[in-house]
Amino acid sequence: MPSTFDTVASIISETCDIPRDKISPESHAIDDLGIDSLDFLDIAFAIDKAFAIKLPLERWTQEVNDGAATTEQYFVLKNLCARIDDLVAAKGAVST
């Protein structure tokens, strides 16, 4: 079973046509990979589908805009994957 990072990296590679070997857990989706907000919607869509979750993009964006969070917290891939794991775990906790 692929790791969360492997799945996310594959999604980014396919969605944004970025070579897979350029994508690491330390990559910042915006600053390092050059993904803009519109392209990130396609990634969010694919992640939502792959993990059966709903990334809270609006809340994250609001927190960043308000200065309550940094983009690194949500858009560095290792951090993004940790958020995804949290969402998947929370969903499992609710459904059990």
Partner: protein, 157 residues
């Protein structure tokens, strides 16, 4: 349809929030200044307006799904295919399905048919935001009423 006013939907025919689908009807006007240029002596509904017609149909579906709380703005058009010409007087059946209701965005698939013959289709992405103002929201509700939009089925209070 009032092409010059970008009012491209005439009537909401079916809205199924369970299935997350909508069907609208739109009649291409017999005359329009747009046809004077597109094209002289050979009037055709512009493809970009067919895409906008699909976007407006899907947009009403997103508004319904958010119970008139949020406004969709077209952000991306993918896999748009314009299969055949559309001419003045034709009755368009426009359908859309909400594929995904994300956080601040929505994905929809839409298509148009005339007499059950496929005309065009596209995958559409919307940014979904709060209405910019209560006045705008009120105007959209008034517009919806003119389209016979079943507001009561998706709005409470």
């Amino acid at each position: 349809m009032q092409l010059e006013y970008f009012q491209l939907i005439d009537r909401v025919v079916e809205l199924d929030l369970g299935a997350r689908t909508i069907r609208c009807e739109a009649v291409v006007p017999l005359t329009s200044t747009i046809f004077e240029g597109h094209f002289p002596g050979h009037p055709l509904m512009p493809g970009v307006l067919l895409i906008e017609t699909m976007a407006q149909t899907a947009g009403w579906l997103v508004i319904a799904a958010t119970r008139f709380e949020r406004m969709p703005f077209l952000a991306a058009v993918k896999e748009a295919k314009l299969r055949t010409f559309v001419t003045p007087g034709q009755v368009l059946s426009v359908v859309a399905e909400l594929i995904h209701d994300g956080s601040g965005y929505a994905m929809a698939a839409a298509s148009i048919a005339v007499d059950a013959k496929p005309i065009c289709n596209a995958d559409l992405t919307f940014k979904v935001m709060d209405f910019p103002s209560e006045d705008f929201r009120s105007r959209m509700r008034d517009w919806a009423k003119r389209l016979q939009f079943p507001i009561g089925t998706c709005v409470h209070g």
